[in-house]
């Protein structure tokens, strides 16, 4: 067994894990963070995507022992104080969810994208989620949701510009 200490959604955790335990198993079965899903288990579907030191990875192909000293973010870290993140809200508003199984992975891939590129083009969004398979709704609503979330990060400035009462030419 290996003793590892790492951060999950900002909180420090110390756990004992076998070498053969995957990060996905650690999150779901030990830490009860079951928002992260197992689809294929071989890195093809992206349902288990989490951020490892900010970079999207498929947690089914990461050994738990490897995250010692590192930082992991999962879908459970998106909502803060009971408030959905702008990205989560955008998925709802765009109808980018059907069965929802792929959604946590989609959102974590999108989170990774927006962290490295706050204003992605549609093409960049498509490339970022190419490793997240959806078998029910399709992808256009997902791309729309991520684009809307990116725009919403500029919302305060846009609102100010668009507000006739507060604008210079009012």
């Amino acid at each position: 067994m290996h003793t590892i200490t790492f951060h999950v959604n900002g909180a420090s955790q110390t756990v004992h894990v076998a070498a053969t335990t995957t990060l996905l198993e650690l999150l779901r079965d030990r830490l009860q963070l079951t928002g992260t899903k197992e689809g294929c288990g071989i890195g093809e579907c992206g349902a288990c995507t989490v951020l490892l030191d900010g970079a999207p990875v498929t947690s089914c192909l990461v050994l738990a022992v490897e995250v010692d000293g590192r930082s992991v973010e999962t879908i459970e870290g998106e909502a803060k104080d009971g408030q959905l993140s702008a990205l989560q809200q955008a998925f709802i508003d765009a109808g980018a969810v059907q069965c929802g199984f792929c959604t946590p992975g989609m959102i974590m891939s999108a989170r990774g994208l927006l962290q490295r590129n706050p204003n992605p083009s549609d093409e960049e969004i498509v490339e970022a989620i190419a490793g997240n398979l959806c078998r029910c709704t399709g992808y256009e609503a997902v791309v729309d949701a991520i684009a809307a979330a990116a725009r919403s990060s500029e919302a305060p400035r846009l609102l100010e510009d668009d507000d006739p009462a507060g604008g210079a030419d009012a």
Binding site: G43, G46, V57, L63, E127, G131
Partner: protein, 283 residues
Amino acid sequence: MLGDFEYVRAQTTADACRRLKEEGDRAVAYAGGTDLLVDIRNGVRAPKLLVDIKGIEALTRVRARNGTLLLGAAVMLNRVAEDASIRDRLPALSEAAVSIATYQLRNRATIGGNLCNASPASDSIPPLLIAGASLHIVGPEGERDVPLGEFCTGVKTTCLECGEIVTEIRIPTIEEGARTAFVKQQRIRGHDLAVVNLAGAYLPSDEAVRIAVGSCSPTPLLLEAIDGRSHDPAAIAEEAIRLADASASPISDVRASAEYRRAVLPVLIRRLVARLFDPQGGA
């Protein structure tokens, strides 16, 4: 749970080589794990010890020395795809790297792992073959350099001896004005392994064209240099097609039939050569 193995993180190359030598066939070098962990899960391989080499600092560097680009074996593929020094010198390798799997897997998969996997369909091998790359190998008995063309000895086999690891990919200076490109045929537009993959270079100093062909033989093929003095893409492509057809021995598998591979090879060679002579155009 994945199989039954122990895990150790090597701190230095010497440490990794010693562990791998001590354990022999029971141990395997572990880098990105995107192939190895899948093989373990599927019961294809059953190592008893994974020696993690990703934390060895020397294996994670990209640097230049006397014009040679030195690419650490544990550099992940997204970094290969995005690194400006690679894009400037060998854009065919950047294009190949970004075509491999998905963004998430490229955050784990490494350039050295892709080479050591020795797949006939490896996307990183053809661009490195046209660049004349060699591999720096370190083992318990010492160090050696092996030209990439001699590294893969067959389907999924390499010349690595027990205890040896690839530490660095060495890419010689590519002359000013050289143009390189990568072309890949796959079943779908999203991520997929290659049906046929090709890399090409046009070298202005001796007006030669070099082409490497993947997925059509047990190990990717580097064709003999083609005279490019005519600057006629159609004629150059026909010569490349003649050479490729003579040395290709494609097989039928889940991705394509041998007949399809042989039929699509000339089409891809024409596209590749068109891109080498008209970087803005082509397919």
